[in-house]
Amino acid sequence: MGMFLKPAPDAGQPLYLQLMQQIRHAAETGALLDGDQLPSIRALADELVVSPNTIVKAYSELAHEGLLDLRHGAGAFVCVKRRTRSLADRVQASRRHIRVLIEQLREEGLFDEEIRRAFDAEMACTAETVRRR
């Protein structure tokens, strides 16, 4: 089995974005290292049973971000620069903030499910607002 999960078609998020997150996450956690080669577009489309255009879009967006190096005819290679590593650090730091916030909300008597829903609602709301700009 490959390293990527099948994206969820009903998650309300384009499949290519879900795949980008998986790849980014893998690079942040060290599951993918600098210079690692990703599966070909055809192979990954076959494995995940998604349109090859989904893979093309995810790879090219990530190349645009600098996380992948698309070498013509050779494939897609991970390119973990300092920025990615500092991003990993920032993600770690943000998790600490979130942990503190969650503890605080629990102390105020909220259940986890309520906290999660509040989080989702705020995320959805801010994402829509940002996108509209």
């Binding site: 078609p9 009903d10 998650a11 309300g12 998020q13 384009p14 499949l15 290519y16 577009i41 055809r42 489309a45 076959d46 049973v49 998604v50 349109s51 090859p52 255009n53 989904t54 829903r117 989702d120 609602a121 959805a124 709301c125 829509e128 607002t129 996108r131 509209r132």
Partner: protein, 303 residues
């Protein structure tokens, strides 16, 4: 223009007496995409497909497939050479065996993919020695698909390809579609298997009563359709939420569900201003988008 589109139609219409099966359809299907063509039974999908393939003549309007006019006899012959079609009726020679029909089909197509043929014979578990007339409906569908896929067409047009297939068969079909797309084949297919469509399609067209109601990339649909569940401390008039992006509102006392086609935040902001006790924004699956789309139509027609 023509080289960007696999299929393009302008005001394509077909009526049978007073009944119009397809009404002024403007369809544009891009090359190198997997496009799903959805609609209820009788919405006009098969009629549209048959017009595209020159099997029936449009009452008015025009269309082109791979750049060839569908009403031009010579162009239409060329279209059929470059397009592989699998429809509801599968005209397979009943007296031949699976192996014979494969060899027979192969002789017509110089680009025949023997690797695809072998792979699919194995994957679809087709019995080479059996006569076509003894095959089950699902087996016949698989055989027709194999013959279409191995031809290496420029465009695949499939009308309900998953009909009669079991879940394993459907999974194999989806995988084959993806492989074909990787080979650069454009795909246009109708289906009622919305959950499956949702996995592989790039673009979705929804036809209802002969008219195109949705023509969008699945990415846009996923990003924009939302269901917003609201709870207020007293009942709130629906008028507060009648924005142009709102498709439907459902009210049960102090609870309200709002379906939007885009910009969920307009509804969320209004709900906050009205001091909603709770605001939940959730994505809408393609199945529900479909149901919402075809549900709205009779109301609209009454106005």
């Amino acid at each position: 223009m023509t080289n960007e589109f696999a299929i393009i139609t302008h005001a394509l219409s077909k009526s049978y007496g007073k009944n119009s099966a397809v009404r002024e359809l403007d369809l544009s299907v891009k090359l190198n995409r997997i496009t799903a063509f959805l609609g209820r039974n009788g919405a006009g999908k098969s009629t549209t497909i048959k017009m595209l393939l020159g099997m029936i003549r449009p009452t008015c309007g025009s269309g082109a497939v791979l750049g060839g006019e569908i009403t031009d006899t010579a162009a239409s012959r060329n279209i059929r050479r470059r397009v592989a079609y699998v429809g509801e009726d599968k005209p397979l020679y009943a007296y031949m065996t699976v192996g014979q029909i494969v060899r027979f089909a192969k002789s017509f197509y110089p680009d025949w993919r023997s690797d695809t043929e072998k792979k699919l014979l194995y994957e679809y578990e087709l019995p080479v020695e059996r006569k076509v007339k003894t095959l089950s409906k699902g087996m016949r569908t698989k055989l027709a698909l194999l013959l279409a896929f191995a031809r290496r067409p420029d465009l695949l047009i499939l009308d309900e390809p998953s009909e009669g297939l079991d879940p394993v068969g459907i999974e194999h079909l989806l995988r084959s579609l993806v492989t074909q797309a990787s080979d650069g084949v454009s795909i246009f297919f109708s289906s009622h298997q919305i959950a499956e469509v949702e996995r592989v399609a790039d673009h979705v067209c929804i036809l209802e009563k002969g008219r195109l109601l949705v023509d969008q990339s699945l990415d846009e649909l996923r990003r924009s359709y939302r269901r917003i569940d609201l709870v207020f401390d007293s009942s709130i008039p629906e008028n507060e939420f009648r924005f142009s992006n709102v498709q439907r509102i459902e009210t049960r006392g102090r609870h309200m569900s709002v379906f939007v086609q885009s910009n969920a935040d307009t509804v969320v902001e209004r709900a906050r201003r009205l001091n909603a006790l709770s605001v939940d924004v959730s994505p809408v699956a393609l199945r529900d988008i479909f149901l919402e789309t075809v549900r709205e139509e009779p109301e609209r027609a009454l106005v």
